[in-house]
Subunit: 205 residues, 2 copies
Amino acid sequence: MYAPGACDEVASAVRARLEALGVRAVNLMSSPGSGKTTLLERTIQDLGGRRSIAVVEADQETALDADRIRRTGVDVVQVNTGAAGHLDAPTLDRALDVLDPAPKSLLFVENVGNLVGPARFDLGEAGQVVLISVTEGTDKPLKYPYIFAAADLVVINKLDLLPYVDFDIDACRLHVASVNPAATVVTVSATRGDNLTDWYGWLFS
Amino acid sequence: MYAPGACDEVASAVRARLEALGVRAVNLMSSPGSGKTTLLERTIQDLGGRRSIAVVEADQETALDADRIRRTGVDVVQVNTGAAGHLDAPTLDRALDVLDPAPKSLLFVENVGNLVGPARFDLGEAGQVVLISVTEGTDKPLKYPYIFAAADLVVINKLDLLPYVDFDIDACRLHVASVNPAATVVTVSATRGDNLTDWYGWLFS
């Protein structure tokens, strides 16, 4: 396990490697259970015909998420971080050796479910996405500002559960803006398919 | 910020301090938004007349949770951990200096929302509780085994949302047992009040 910042040179090398291949790498971060894998499954179903997609899955333990992604037919590598709560650049670099993503492909990195650790580790990715689900509470961008400040895109997920929980989308958008005025915010339901074109629009922007 | 294990002596001192006072200290850990604060609000409402209660709230930033707890009328101290994702024993020790819990009281420590970091830090508490909500997915004990292995009690929360999500309580119980056969598991809805007597039974056991 590395300290934050210790791998910044490796992260720069990963970034150069991906840029040379024309690969767009997107780092998905969220609490456990916010719907990262479900969003990926749906995205691969919807976009897999348009562009080559590869996935790196990170969890403390198990290959459950890689098994789910593999069923969609794309290449996936599972990384287990053990007691650590985030992926680091050297680990991603080794995963890429195995995955060998095609030029111009879309590479999704699904980080360990954690709103704390992943914010402090540069992986060399091109885009940082933070998911939050409406079951988690409106105040999360204020309580975990570091990861929201690092996000290029915030995806508010599980719109299908909105009728059953106390969550204020407008207030959550304001909270995101207060810690990160530059972040784009989209609201989706990965299970039901609501507004996924907004997410795809960002991916191809 | 301390490394895991660096504060074990302070944790031992905190444990001795609490034992001398006859204070039962319970460390609540979960993902962000699993319902720790809501469970505490409800618990204080229901039990506040029976026993003196004090609370330490930990978040990266804000005093939002302490504000919620203060409205219930009990003593509360908010700790902000900044970029760190967990409370450590020296910080809890200083919080106790301010809080000065009454002898024989019940002390709740609500940790930063995180299924990774808090598992690695002994605070000197008497009981470790991990919450998981049914919106987070059945597989979480397998994917984050370290924190579930450290738990004395696992609270499966948000039973009120069970009809709307794909969550298998029996399978989740088995997953908990596979990483921690000794853990007790209770299923509750903190917002609706389901089965809270099971939680209170554990607290006073």
